[in-house]
């Protein structure tokens, strides 16, 4: 069964087996506003936990997306090139950014579960 964890940078990672799918949260897309460009990492790139590896641009500004865990990118969401608005419409569905083959699943322990993340967002006011 898939398990979703959350980072303090408002990324989510949904883990099935040793593959994690990464995107940004509903809160993050609301804060960004209309997304007009997304740059996702290419398959084969190795990323470290906390490394900036994707970019999301709203009308106003560019923001980095950080890898919530270490691993090798196995797929970037090519669909976002033509439909960046998917990040706003379905941040946890069609608007996913990339998939990672996790190198150390123990890292996930440092991320929040859904309840903890909801509390974290509430604490931001």
């Amino acid at each position: 069964m898939a398990e979703t964890r959350y980072s303090q940078d408002h990324e989510w990672i949904r883990v099935e087996g040793d593959v994690g799918t990464v995107g940004i949260t509903q809160y993050a897309q609301e804060q960004l506003g209309d997304v007009v460009f997304v740059e996702v990492p290419q398959a084969g790139r190795t990323v470290a936990k906390g490394e900036a590896c994707a970019v999301v641009e709203s009308v106003k500004a560019a923001s980095d997306i950080y890898a919530p865990a270490s691993g090798e990118v196995i797929e970037g969401n090519a669909g976002l090139a033509d439909a960046p608005g998917d990040v706003n419409a379905e941040p946890t569905g069609k608007g996913w950014f990339f998939k990672l083959k996790l190198s150390d699943k123990a890292e996930l322990g440092g991320l929040m579960d859904e309840n903890a993340y909801d509390e974290f967002v509430k604490s931001l006011g």
Partner: protein, 377 residues
């Protein structure tokens, strides 16, 4: 859109209305301002281009100059701006700049002659410094009245004239860059046919306490939606209009900024009232010999967005810098403007914009990116 500020943030007369409308409020130029409403910047941008948008620009500074006995306010103002102010007929509006001794731009502003007065509209972030500058230079010749508590509403877009005509039919025949006193909802307002979007539209200077009722009344018309600072920025960028502090500042002359058109021929070398403003020699030298660099439009290939600060390169050599860049919703693609060395400034020149360390191919193109639709009568 937010900028660092000192001291408590100020509010415009429309603060409560912005809150009611669900605006996201950000600090901007010392004010709590709406950056967007719930529909978002893309919808607001299209609303303005296709129908009509209402912007709160009450944070901008309005200053009224009146000639003291035996003096001429227009002549006096020409000692600190390069624009032709003496030649301004009653009811005419003009764009000009305050310059420094090097010919750099301290601020850009609109000047309208009402016949009895000159009305100035300056940028919010500069207004206190501008007022001090005006007082330091014009106190002996002009009564100087800051009207910082007045409201300023911008009603912009192709339907703006239809809507405002319902309140005041005489605005329909006003031409671009003219102004008139108009009664709106019982309040004496000063309306100019101008704006910062490239669209037809009006700016309405309102008594402070009439600002909120007039804004609500305008919003009750089905063509009108509230628009925040986010779309204001994307609209002006598509229109190729300069944002002070970004595309123009104390280090850019009006010639480098390609604003020489705003210096009337009477104020240019050989004109009847040539020079006479701070930095005139430097500006005239740029006008005569060509400035070493020039503000240009930049159209990136593909979808990557080059923002302010991105370097402009040709064959790996840096030839300039982006000063404004973003997504142009009307075009559905990225657009930018910036300064490049004169030798590389011709339209059609292929350049690279360095975005996150990677070159993004782009071409130097004429501006505006979206055609102006001003009403010229």
């Amino acid at each position: 859109m937010s900028e660092p500020t000192a001291g408590p943030l100020k509010r415009t007369p429309l603060y409560d209305l912005h809150r009611e409308l669900g605006a996201r409020i950000v600090p901007f130029a010392g004010y709590e301002m709406p950056v967007q409403y719930p529909t978002g910047i893309l919808v607001e941008h299209a609303q303005t281009r296709n129908s009509c948008g209402l912007f709160d620009v009450s944070h901008m500074g309005q200053v009224r100059l009146t000639s003291k006995a035996g003096h001429n306010a227009a002549k006096a103002l020409e000692t600190i701006v390069p624009g032709d102010i003496v030649g301004l007929q009653p009811g005419q509006q003009r764009y000009t700049q305050f310059t420094n001794e090097e010919g750099g731009i301290l601020d850009d502003l609109m000047v309208t002659s009402t016949g009895d007065h000159l009305n100035l509209v300056v940028n919010a972030a500069c207004k206190d410094a501008d007022l001090a500058h005006i007082q330091a230079n014009l106190s002996s010749s002009c009564e100087i009245e800051p009207m910082f508590s007045r409201g300023l509403l911008a009603l912009q877009g192709p339907q703006a004239v239809t809507v405002l005509s319902r309140f005041a039919p005489q605005v329909a025949t006003m031409a671009f860059m003219t102004g008139a006193f108009v009664m709106i909802e019982g309040a004496r307002c000063y309306v100019t046919r101008s704006g910062y979007t490239g669209c037809d539209g009006f700016e309405i200077s309102t008594p402070a306490d009439a600002t909120d009722p007039i804004a609500r009344k305008l919003l009750s018309h089905p063509e009108v939606k509230p628009i925040g600072l986010g779309a204001r920025d994307s609209l002006r960028l598509e229109a190729g209009l300069c944002l002070y502090g970004h595309d123009i500042d104390t280090t850019t002359t009006p010639v480098e900024a390609v604003l020489l058109w705003s210096i009337g021929k009477d104020r240019r070398a050989g004109g009847a009232r040539a020079g006479g403003y701070p930095g005139a020699a430097a500006v005239q030298k740029h006008a005569a010999d060509g400035a070493p660099r020039k503000r240009v439009g930049l159209l990136p290939e593909g979808k990557a967005i080059a923002r302010e600060g991105a370097e402009i390169a040709i064959g790996g050599k840096i030839v300039g810098k982006v000063t404004s860049g973003g997504f142009g919703p009307t075009l559905g693609r990225a657009v930018a403007m910036g300064y490049v060395e004169k030798a590389h400034s011709a339209n059609g020149t292929k350049v690279d914009l360095v975005v996150r360390g990677k070159p993004v191919p782009a071409e130097i193109v004429p501006m505006p990116f979206v055609k102006h639709t001003y009403y010229r009568g």
